[in-house]
Amino acid sequence: MATRPAEIEGLALGRGARLFDGLRRFFDGDVFYSFRRSPVTVVSFAVTLILLLAALLAPSLAPHNTYDVASLDLVNAFRPPAWADGGDPRFLLGTDDQGRDVLSSIMFGLRISLLVGFVAVMLAAVVGTLLGLLSGYLGGVLDSVIMRIADVQLTFPAILIALLIDGIVGTLLSPAARRDFKIYVLVAAIAASLWVNFARTVRGSTMVEKNKEYVQAAKVIGVHPGLIMLRHVLPNVLGPVLVIATLSLAIAILTEATLSFLGVGVPVTRPSLGTLIRIGNDFLFSGEWWMTIFPGVALVLLVLAVNLLGDWLRDALNPKLR
Amino acid sequence: MVRDGGRRPILEVRDLKVEFPTRRGTLVAVDGVSFHIEEGEVLGVVGESGAGKSLTGAAVIGLLEPPGRIAAGQILLDGERVDHLPYERMRKLRGKKIAMVFQDPLTSLNPLYTVGRQLVETILTHEDLSAGAARGRAVELLAEVGIPSPVQRIDQYPHQFSGGMRQRVVIALALCANPRLVIADEPTTALDVSIQAQIIRLLKRLCEEHGAAVMLITHDMGVIAETADRVAVMYAGRIVEIGPVREVIRHARHPYTHGLMGSIPVIGHDLERLVQIEGTMPRLTEIPPGCPFHPRCPAAFERCRHERPELMPVDGSTAACWLHDRAA
């Protein structure tokens, strides 16, 4: 079999061709097929997408800019939703005690909730995956230390961590600086409560992959251990990470909402869904139900949709079920 | 079917077809397989991976994993149909009339229960004995399969036995209700060579003594040569040759069997190169028309490409190959 130069050179796919090939394989594959077949998943995906877009495009899409204090008019305060008695079509879901449009507040609130959630999960995923990889691959004392830290970490619920960090930071910084840092503290606290899940799972998968022959083959070739971890092991342990990330997003959003509800979350000037629920809660029993119910519904929808997506992803990526 | 003394074979399989519906279409994994096994006979079913031999065994004992299903054909045990039996009736048959010995002794036994408990449980499921009598029978069985100090070892857990010993226990489990048919799916593949020899001998002896028929599924021709009376060679879901062991091994009638025997290295044969069958067994989605072996067959001709050959007698044996069609 003589080597044909032209054919051989053609075999190295360029970057663009590889991407295209990769996309084609995905849409042809079993994962996408199971997605198409499950109506629950498609609906969840649609809902998540809508909420995501609402959050991303809030500055342009929202009927009112609720951060603009100047545009508020107390005359419009306490208006019920548009379809009820006394409602105003300009304020579709009613207004709050300061005359802010509830619908717009929800959209901007979604923005904050999603932002905090995403960043916290990203942080937790990166730190957790890295530590899990190192722990599982290198083993020994490093593994023991990291796992013990993880065990200790798990005994603290996120709320406690957030309160602790908040308290410590409060005594160290001036009130002004404290306000600025609040959101970073929040993100860090939520990430701290989530990273262990990633680390544990990645560590387990790493320990399995480490013993497989393709890793040994790389060692025999003489590849640097760091490169083995990043290029060989990591791509093979990422599957579960994606699932955990999706499910953690729901948890992160809820955690943030809880913290905000308790008053230790985001500052009131940029309310998240949790803050909105808290503010509205005060007026629940005096009859202005829309101020807390609608943000609550939005929160439930978001968390439910993300959770269902995560469930589907976990089953779709599980090789044993295929 | 005429037999000596007019006896029926214990197992009769007629035109068995096993299918797997997938989103890309229906895959036919076993396509029109027919054979029979007599009392006390060992039928070897040999073939490479993907040939369909394990699925055939699973179909006979009713353990096909869905979505796989028996799409056509009949399976008769002692003259009664057992394909498509409702779950409960099949469950009663299993163990009592048909038993199975699997490949991996590690996973065939429940690691959480003692060996004795698993044996007694099986015995009590199929026979009406007191617990004490069942235990006595279990000890007898362990002794029969060659486990030393059975009275002590009956209360041990599977992990306390070596691989070969575990496989003996699995055989004891299979035989405890005196089944009519034993299906052994690669019973020695996971064992060392020296243990393999012991286990094969044991299986053969016990089945002869109990009068059971054996369907021995394996990819190892050597095991077949030592144990089987007749052998069926499977390829791409079909039987391409079936006949007495001596005939099939020494004078293969089908080109695939011939190639297979030639590719096995044998101590004492000094060869530069082993016989090599070009290509690989076709995937279930790509089975060619006509004879499934024709693309790889050195003796293929025009008819092989279009018409699928059925098993035909070839003095003393049977093979599915147009080379032997006298009428042509």
């Binding site: 080597t3 590849v223 | 020494r250």
Partner: protein, 355 residues
């Protein structure tokens, strides 16, 4: 095949690989806490116990044995995946056990490669075949240009009788036999002189095995490769080896030119192994029946490890581990052979006709 003198006297060209007194112990003690509470002691697994052999250039040396005999551990020691507890491994005169850093090992790694048993686990499922095969080229910086790499990978694929186009595909698109070919192509990428093959055909069907074995012999001829071939299948070993070593519970019990060991097995275990092979030719030959099972390698029997299963064992066998003695063209570790106790009559008494 090289004459026997070449192998034993060492006077001819230096062997490519020489292993002396190779020993590997694994600590399998229960964790500290369990030992304190349960009172169990430390346990050591003597996986490899004083193994010595040499492989001349361009030849195939096979190690056979059953599970727990240590042959896979020897393979991994030779290739540097494990560090030996004692002993030396000399590759082309360089003592590998003295090399510590990756940089020092690098030139050796280029010259020796390994092929593994499991075709499904030995290729990274997320990498394309091109990248898998090109890895040695990239790690050792043998070629820099992307095109040159692609061309070389294409040549390698053709050399193992696959198509150059297969480089774009993923491992799951190939069958077991094809994956082993890809492993071979990867092993050949850096132009090695020495390949360690750990049961490369055990997971393959018999007809595919024939293809791979033929390929390996062709490559040996074309490229002048030397092989260390690990297997439990004696028939495969018969077909492909020039030299052969039989291992039992970590020790090399018999070794020498392959034909000599097969035609005139000296050690009782070798005889037993050969007799246990199913008789494909249905010759009805008489053989020594197999006794017992391989004991656990954690606490092997004292003296000669094989004595509990050996029909010829005596008191000395139970106490004293045998040293190697020459027997014909091979070396054997057996007191009975050394004392000349194994005459024909003695053997014949143990033979039994097949049932």
């Amino acid at each position: 095949m090289a004459p026997a003198a070449d192998y034993r006297s060492g006077k001819a060209a230096r062997p490519l690989l020489r292993v002396a007194g190779l020993t590997k112990h694994f600590d399998v003690s229960p964790p500290l806490l369990s030992r304190l509470l349960g009172g169990g002691g430390r346990a050591t697994l003597r996986a490899v116990d004083g193994v010595s052999f040499a492989i001349p250039r361009g030849r195939t040396f096979s190690l056979v044995g059953e599970s727990g005999c240590g042959k896979s551990t020897v393979a991994r020691l030779v290739v540097g995946l494990y560090q030996p507890t004692r002993g030396t491994i000399e590759f082309d005169g360089v003592d590998m056990t003295r090399l510590r850093t990756r940089a020092e090992m690098a030139p050796l790694r280029r010259r020796m490669q390994m092929i593994f048993q499991d075709p499904y686990a030995s290729l990274n499922p997320r990498w394309r075949v091109l990248d898998i095969i090109a890895e040695p080229l990239r790690v050792h910086r043998l070629l820099d240009d992307g095109r040159a790499v692609a061309r070389r990978v294409g040549e390698l694929l053709e050399q193992v009788r696959l198509s150059a186009r297969d480089g774009d595909k993923f491992p799951h698109e190939f069958s077991g036999g094809q994956r082993q070919r890809i492993s071979v192509a990867r092993a050949l990428a850096s132009n090695p002189e020495f390949l360690v093959c750990d049961e490369p055909t055990s997971a393959l069907d018999v007809s595919v095995q024939a293809q791979i074995l033929n390929l390996m012999r062709d490559l040996q001829r074309e490229l002048g490769l030397s092989y260390l071939f690990i297997s439990h299948d004696l028939a495969v070993v018969y077909h492909i080896s020039d030299y052969l070593g039989v291992m039992y519970l970590g020790r090399l019990v018999e070794w020498g030119p392959a034909r000599a060991v097969f035609r005139n097995p000296q050690h009782p275990y070798t005889r037993m192994l050969l007799d246990a092979i199913p008789d494909l030719e249905m010759s009805g030959r008489r053989r020594i029946p197999v006794a017992g099972e391989v004991p656990s390698p954690i606490s092997p029997p004292a003296g000669c490890h094989f004595h509990p299963r050996c029909p010829f064992a005596n008191e000395r066998c139970r106490r004293e581990p045998p040293q190697p003695v020459a027997a014909g063209a091979s070396q054997v570790r057996c007191h009975a052979v050394a004392e000349g106790r194994l005459g024909e009559e003695v053997i014949r008494r143990e033979l039994v006709a097949p049932s």
